[in-house]
């Protein structure tokens, strides 16, 4: 796992730097909602990671290396979670710096939950279909995420009388649970494809 993560960090150094600049820009200019937008981009990180492996044909070599099958997919999830966490933290920092006090934008946690759910759904599909079709999946995921966040916002606004904290907590729990299941599905799908 350590080696694979190190490889992804070294190969995607430039992409990660660009991502960092984007998050800082959005977080500073639009606070929480800007950071939420940057969070949506976190799903692109595994797309990039898989794309780099496919382009160099490293995906052919990987199943022959002493790497546990689960680690081959887990590092893509870790990449996505890392970007999501970075965007969330910088969103909070940006908002707090602007307000002059620690502020948790009401958008941040629902956005984290929506991104987690979307990652859980889209990553197995990326592993199944590869990067070319994966990019299309990513575009669809962005649209779905925006829709989900809007729907979650309506619920939190009180139209359906659901307490905001409960709903957010439930969505976060669902995101975590779905990610756990998603990793297992991805492991089967991805390595099934490679080792057919």
């Amino acid at each position: 796992m350590k080696g694979i993560l190190l490889k992804d960090m070294m190969t995607l150094k430039r992409t990660m730097l660009l991502y960092l600049v984007l998050i800082v820009f959005f977080a500073v200019s639009n606070g929480g909602s800007g950071a939420a937008f940057a969070m949506f981009y976190s799903i692109a990180m595994p797309v990039n990671m898989i794309a780099v492996d496919e382009r160099s044909r490293f995906d052919r070599l990987m199943p022959m290396l002493p790497v546990r099958r689960i680690d081959c997919v887990l590092d893509k999830y870790i990449g996505a979670w890392g970007c999501l966490a970075l965007a969330a933290v910088l969103g909070i920092v940006g908002e707090s710096v602007k307000a002059g006090a620690l502020v948790l934008s009401p958008v941040i946690l629902p956005a984290v939950a929506v991104c987690l759910v979307s990652q859980a759904i889209t990553l197995p599909l990326l592993f199944k279909f590869g990067v070319d079709q994966g990019r299309m999946i990513y575009m669809i995921a962005i649209i779905v995420m925006a829709g989900l966040l809007g729907a979650l916002g309506s619920l939190i606004d009180g139209q359906f009388f659901v307490p905001a904290q409960w709903l957010t907590a439930l969505a976060l729990l669902a995101g975590v649970a779905l990610n756990a299941g998603s990793i297992l599905v991805s492991e089967r799908v991805y390595l099934g494809r490679l080792t057919a």
């Binding site: 350590k2 080696g3 694979i4 993560l5 190190l6 490889k7 070294m10 190969t11 780099v52 492996d53 382009r55 160099s56 044909r57 490293f58 052919r60 070599l61 199943p63 022959m64 290396l65 002493p66 790497v67 546990r68 099958r69 490679l194 080792t195 057919a196």
Partner: protein, 284 residues
């Protein structure tokens, strides 16, 4: 313990089928795997490394049944792999590639890797994607040789290398098997390379293993003759195994032991034996 054992292995992909393959590679030996494109060499190699599963039979690598995925992940620590392409992350430099693999292999030997980088004259600061194909392959070989592997699996690893570099790489492989606990499985279209270094030759044709023989025995056993029709007709019964008629000449794969004394049979290249085995007609 054998380095590799395949027992009654079968695998089907659409029209292609690898059928009832039985093969053993003992420690301390180099086995050359030859066969035309699509014969099943790479499929066999992928099964040996656990990257695909046989439909039938068993594959054992360094004593581990490849069906046991978790145990095999540990066994792969002792296997060096080079495929027909480098398949290394191409955004990395040679030095970064070394750092990456130090996180993959427990026995990674950074000093050995650096020595190979120098020996193969690899530019340490250039990114892999800027390398020529030959240089990429040398880097892949350096990686495979730098983690104290007991088994090297090389699938067309010398393809794309010029003859001088190939010779140097073959020396490296020969050095590797001086340790009697080491073994190499190498597939190559460059049969002359295999002739130089292999102890055994396995010949795969259309998914079937036609022969596995000790290289010297193979060359002692068979002769490839260029004869006229009259010369061919004069051969004793049972001597000719395969015959190929082209451009007015008759090429014959014959058993040396049954050749008449007046029929000259010099050195026989393995490539010629393979050609006759695949393209020649069986003599009844």
């Amino acid at each position: 313990m054998n380095a590799i054992e395949l027992s009654h292995v079968g695998k089907r992909y659409g029209d292609f089928a690898l059928e009832d393959v039985n093969l053993t590679l003992a420690q301390g030996c180099i086995l050359g795997l030859v066969g035309e494109n699509g014969a099943g060499k790479s499929t066999m190699i992928r099964m040996i490394l656990g990257a695909c599963r046989p439909d039938s039979g068993t594959v054992t690598t360094l004593g581990c049944d490849t069906a046991n995925a978790d145990a095999l992940a540990d066994v792969r620590q002792d296997v060096g792999v080079v495929l027909d392409e480098a398949c290394l992350p191409d955004e990395l430099t040679a030095a970064q590639t070394g750092r990456f693999f130090s996180g993959i292999y427990k026995n990674w030997d950074a000093a050995a890797f650096d020595a190979y980088v120098k020996r193969f004259d690899l530019p340490p600061a250039k990114r892999v994607k800027e390398y020529s194909r030959g240089t990429k392959m040398k880097l892949a070989i350096a990686v495979a040789m730098s983690h104290d592997a007991k088994l090297l699996v090389l699938d067309e690893a010398t393809g794309g290398l010029d003859p001088i570099v190939r010779d140097e790489i073959l020396d490296v492989f020969n050095e590797f098997t001086r340790d009697e606990t080491h073994a190499i499985l190498i597939s190559s279209h460059i049969v002359s390379d295999l002739e130089k270094i292999c102890d055994y030759i396995a010949f795969l044709h259309k998914g079937r293993l036609l022969l596995v023989e000790e290289k010297d025995a193979l060359m002692d056993k068979y002769a490839v003759l260029q004869l006229t029709e009259a010369g061919y007709a004069a051969l004793p019964a049972g001597c000719a195994l395969r015959v190929l008629r082209a451009h007015g000449a008759v090429q014959v794969l014959a058993l040396r032991a049954l050749l008449p004394a007046d029929v000259p049979a010099g050195h026989t290249a393995i490539e010629d034996i393979m050609l006759l085995l695949t393209k020649g007609d069986a003599v009844k």
